[in-house]
């Protein structure tokens, strides 16, 4: 089996190479400017797409690679543009698609994938004859091989959708949805000054800081894009540390995807203790410093 992986984010492309190595002969592709992130991923070959890149001409280039290499599978990293590319490719190349896979196994030419459905409420295991897969970033580490991969550059055609300009994202680069560890704070913090201790913990565990609705929207201790919950971000970190969060329904809805939830709260009857894996009853201002030093 031969698979092409593509992502306009070299890091994700590299993750995919790593994930598929051993399962398939992997041909990587990404944009020229992402070359460095992918060159040592250990793919058979690395195609670099050069020029103004839009989903439309990227998908054409991937078609070219497919023709050139005779690959039977394509994996696209799930990003805003990635999903568009996958859609176009699926229609153009008449390949059956599967979205947002979180695992991929192949036995005797039969692929088995898992993916989340229904807002993270279900994990679906499916046997499929699909040939186009959209890969959910973060299920594998990026690869690190000894030597550079041989590269070939493909000049992208002029797209009919023309980029005019770019704006930076105002969110300040917070990517809660992809954070591995989140330290989240609630009203129990008492005041904005209390944030210091939470930030210290976040720094220690290399996590992102987030907050409940009142903290972000009512008190503005944190910016709005750090709000976790039904009306905010739905997060799926490996560890979610809830400090002084009582655990209202809306908040819980945002952390269903978290693997492990740790809660620290003074109030023994706080609902968060029904929705956590590990809970510590007590004053967070006493517990968190101890936690930081123990780490």
């Amino acid at each position: 089996m031969k698979a092409i992986v593509f992502s306009e984010d070299g890091e994700i492309a590299s993750q995919m190479v790593n994930y598929l190595k051993g399962k398939a002969e992997v041909i990587a592709s990404t944009l020229t400017e992402e070359k460095e992130k992918c060159i040592r991923a250990g793919a058979e070959k690395l195609y670099l797409l050069s020029g103004i890149a839009e989903p439309e001409n990227i998908s054409e280039a991937i078609s070219e690679i497919k023709n050139a290499t005779g690959a039977d599978y394509i994996f696209i990293g799930s990003t805003a543009n990635g999903r568009d590319i996958a859609g176009i490719l699926s229609a153009k190349e008449d390949m059956k698609p599967i979205s947002e896979i979180t695992s991929f196994e192949i036995n005797d030419g039969k692929a088995t994938v898992t993916r989340f459905l229904y807002g993270g409420k279900a994990v679906s295991t499916e046997e499929t004859s699909a040939t186009l897969y959209v890969y959910a970033p973060g299920i594998s580490e990026s690869a690190r091989a000894e030597s550079d991969t041989p590269t070939e550059t493909i000049q992208l055609k002029e797209p009919s959708v023309k980029p005019e300009s770019e704006e930076p994202k105002t969110s300040g680069g917070v990517d809660l949805e992809k954070a591995k560890i989140i330290v989240s704070v609630g009203r129990g913090l008492g005041s904005k000054e209390g944030l210091g201790i939470a930030e210290e913990l976040a720094k220690k565990v290399n996590g992102e800081i987030a907050g409940s609705r009142p903290v972000c929207l009512d008190y503005h201790w944190l910016s709005e894009d750090r709000q976790v919950g039904l009306s905010g971000k739905k997060v799926k970190p490996k560890v979610y540390i809830a400090l002084g969060i009582s655990g209202q329904i809306q908040h819980i809805a945002g952390i269903r995807g978290a693997k492990t939830v740790i809660a620290i709260n003074k109030d023994k009857s706080a609902p968060i203790f029904e929705e956590c894996d590990y809970g510590i009853v007590g004053d967070l201002f006493q517990i968190v410093p101890k936690l930081i030093s123990a780490l």
Binding site: R187, S246, A253, K266
Partner: protein, 674 residues
């Protein structure tokens, strides 16, 4: 003297014409412009009662004592003085006319006049002090000129009365035709006699000239007063008594219904979308500011001011009314401008907690809240505009029958292990009383403790009860009070069908918002059942001996206070039962600085629970501060909304360790004895 009679007749005619014409144009507005109906029943007994209480006895004014006494004395003084004025003009026109035949009755009437004129004079001085020396905050910035002018007219009227009286005592007017009070013995005018003693006796022709000068001033003063009344805030002299007599025969918070099949303009967008009674409300306002200075939003730094809402609407009516009258009703669409936006800001409309403190305080029975909700209706029903949080609650109420996202099938889960008859599962209609749990106590874990406590109490008292479980839906209150009458009505219909299906005759509920909906809103839609709030019910259980409670060991160190829920207190006048219950356990009880009918809202009503509160201090923080001021160690409430707000305030303001918060049901359930 015929010249004087003629001048007096002419003056009176001109003033009366002006008075009547101004009133006509004002009442033309009220009759012709508004298109919304105002339902009213005769209820003569009740109307007679409130007229005596709130007009003649000035009942509602005494909610603020000093201002109330001042106004009441002025009012009574004016009525008494009416006898003098009437006689003054009657004899001025026809010197031989006897309005009141001489005798003891007449003497007593004029004794009252003589005394009250002094009272009024002192009152005027006090009013002056209040506004310009003491500087009572609620007056500041409001129509100082009008007030000064009116006080000047009143003072002049009283001073000329005494001056004329002194001349009478001195015998100056004895032989002047049309002079009044000549037959009253001086012993019946002690105040005038006292003043006369302060001045040298007036004699000679100059004193007659002085008489006529004072006479003219007095007459002119009165005539100017007549012209001025309907053009100023003193229009309330005419409008307010009418407003009281014609006030709602239902609970003032009760909102008008909407006929969705026929109406096409919902709520109040411009001045045509009010009722004639709303106009009477506008005309009755004197900008006294009692409403605003009891408004939780205003008191915590928001820009909402119920006084300004009423006064601004009045200004629009008085500006657009004459234009409509001159151009004709066909030009309605061009002349009438939306009142929401430039006149009244959307922010202000959404700041209202519908707590009814303004309505409760208003001496002339203006309904501020229903105007605010009607304007909210305009935004929500015509334009689909509401704060983001509110729009979310609408979606949730539609999808889940709860303002929150919550799986309806889990509504009764909290009761699963408590041996409760959950009707959605059991289908067993054999129960005496239905316990209506409400969304907050069904889904919010902290508030589930309230539900569990109620269950414990009911079971202890051996009452056969049931809950609806997943068949219960939000009563619609958060939708109704934010103006989404359409959604509220749909939810009400579904709930009424459910209640009727289970043949419910008695309902108890722990949520004052549900309570008010079930009791007042639903009954208007045909739901006939006895609806009781758990505070009353539990209190009855205690007084009838079905359950008993005793103080715990810790109670000796506790200091209690009770926070009034608006929907229980001002809406439904339930103030005493919770206090009586606490009284069974402890004497160490103190009221917070605003309590009972003046109780400060927690900030959650009117759908505010689901909106952001970013301007000023949080209402809940102010309230918890009041509990902290009296060093209360346990605040008792009787409303899940209050529980959410105050619990949050308690945590955020660092009072978590010092102050406990308990629903009255929890208070009782944890102190039950065998």
């Amino acid at each position: 003297m015929q010249l004087f009679s003629a001048l007096l007749i002419a003056g009176l005619a001109i003033s009366a014409a002006s008075f009547i014409y101004t009133l006509y144009s004002i009442f033309w507005n009220a009759v012709k412009i508004p298109e919304k109906p105002y339902r009213i029943k005769a209820s003569i007994g009740r109307r007679a009662y409130i007229t005596i209480r709130n007009v003649l006895l000035q009942g509602k004014l005494f909610k603020e004592r000093s201002g109330g006494i001042m106004h009441a004395l002025m009012f009574w003084g004016f009525i008494a003085f009416g006898a003098y004025s009437a006689t003054f003009f009657a004899r001025g026109i026809d010197p031989s006319f006897q309005l009141i035949p001489p005798g003891e009755i007449k003497n007593v009437i004029f004794l009252t006049v003589d005394v009250f004129a002094l009272v009024v004079l002192i009152d005027v001085f006090y009013a002056f002090l209040r506004r310009w020396v003491i500087k009572i905050p609620r007056y500041q910035g409001y129509n100082g000129f009008e007030a000064a002018f009116i006080l000047f007219l009143i003072a002049t009227l009283m001073i000329t009365y005494y001056a004329l009286g002194i001349l009478r005592i001195d015998g100056v007017s004895r032989n002047i035709p049309g002079a009044i009070m000549e037959s009253i013995p001086s012993s019946y005018t002690p105040v005038t006699v006292f003043f006369a003693g302060l001045f040298p006796k007036a004699t000679g022709p100059l004193s007659v000239d002085l008489y006529w000068t004072l006479y003219t001033i007095h007459a002119l003063d009165f005539l100017i007063f007549l012209v001025y009344i309907p053009r100023s805030k003193h229009l309330h002299l005419v409008a307010a008594p009418l407003n009281v007599i014609l006030s709602k025969d239902r609970q003032p918070a009760q909102l008008s219904t909407i006929d969705f099949d026929h109406e096409t303009r919902f709520g109040a967008t411009d001045i045509r979308d009010f009722s004639w009674k709303d106009y009477l409300d506008f005309y009755s306002c004197t900008e006294c500011g009692r409403c605003t200075f009891n408004c939780p939003a205003y008191l915590t730094g928001k820009t909402l001011s119920p006084r300004d809402i009423i006064w601004d609407l009045r200004e629009v009516v008085l500006a657009e009314g004459p234009e409509l009258r001159s151009k004709g009703m066909d030009h309605k669409d061009q002349i009438l401008k939306p009142v929401i936006g430039d006149t009244i800001s959307e922010t202000d409309l959404w700041s209202c907690t519908t707590c009814m403190a303004c309505v409760e305080q208003c001496p002339v029975m203006i309904d501020h809240v229903d105007k605010i909700v009607n304007m909210r209706r305009s935004l929500v029903l015509n334009q689909g505009k509401a704060p983001k949080g509110t729009l979310e609650t609408y979606n949730n109420m539609e999808m889940y029958g709860s303002p929150w996202v919550a799986d309806p099938s889990t509504r009764g889960d909290w009761a699963k292990d408590l041996g409760v008859n959950i009707l959605s599962e059991s289908g067993n209609d054999d129960f005496e009383i239905l316990y209506w749990v409400g969304c907050v106590s069904s889904y919010d874990r902290r508030n589930q403790e309230i539900a569990k406590s109620v269950v414990k109490i009911l079971q202890k008292a051996g009452i056969k009860f049931a809950i609806l479980g997943s068949e219960e839906k939000c009563t619609g209150d958060p939708a109704k009070r934010t103006g989404n009458e359409y959604l509220a009505e749909n939810l009400a219909r579904v709930n009424i069908d459910t209640l009727n299906k289970h043949k419910v005759h008695r309902v108890i509920t722990g949520c004052p918002h549900c309570f008010n909906s079930l009791k007042n809103d639903y009954s208007e839609m045909g739901f006939k059942a006895e609806v009781i709030h758990h505070t009353e019910f539990i209190n009855q259980l205690i007084s009838s001996g079905k359950i008993s409670i005793a103080a715990t060991q810790n109670d000796k160190e506790e200091k209690f206070t009770y926070h009034d829920s608006c929907y229980l207190g001002r809406y439904n006048k339930i103030y005493e039962p919770p206090r009586e219950i606490i009284g069974h356990v402890s004497d160490n009880y103190e009221e917070m600085s605003m309590n009972k009918s003046k109780g400060l809202c927690c900030g959650a009503g009117g759908g505010r629970l689901w909106m952001d509160e970013t301007v000023g201090t949080k209402i809940s923080h102010k309230r918890i501060g009041m509990a902290s001021d009296i060093n209360a160690s346990t605040v008792v409430t009787a409303c899940p909304y209050c529980m959410i707000m105050l619990d949050d305030a308690r945590r955020v303001t660092g009072l978590e360790d010092k102050m406990k918060l308990s629903d009255i049901s929890e208070f009782v359930a944890s102190r039950l004895t065998d």
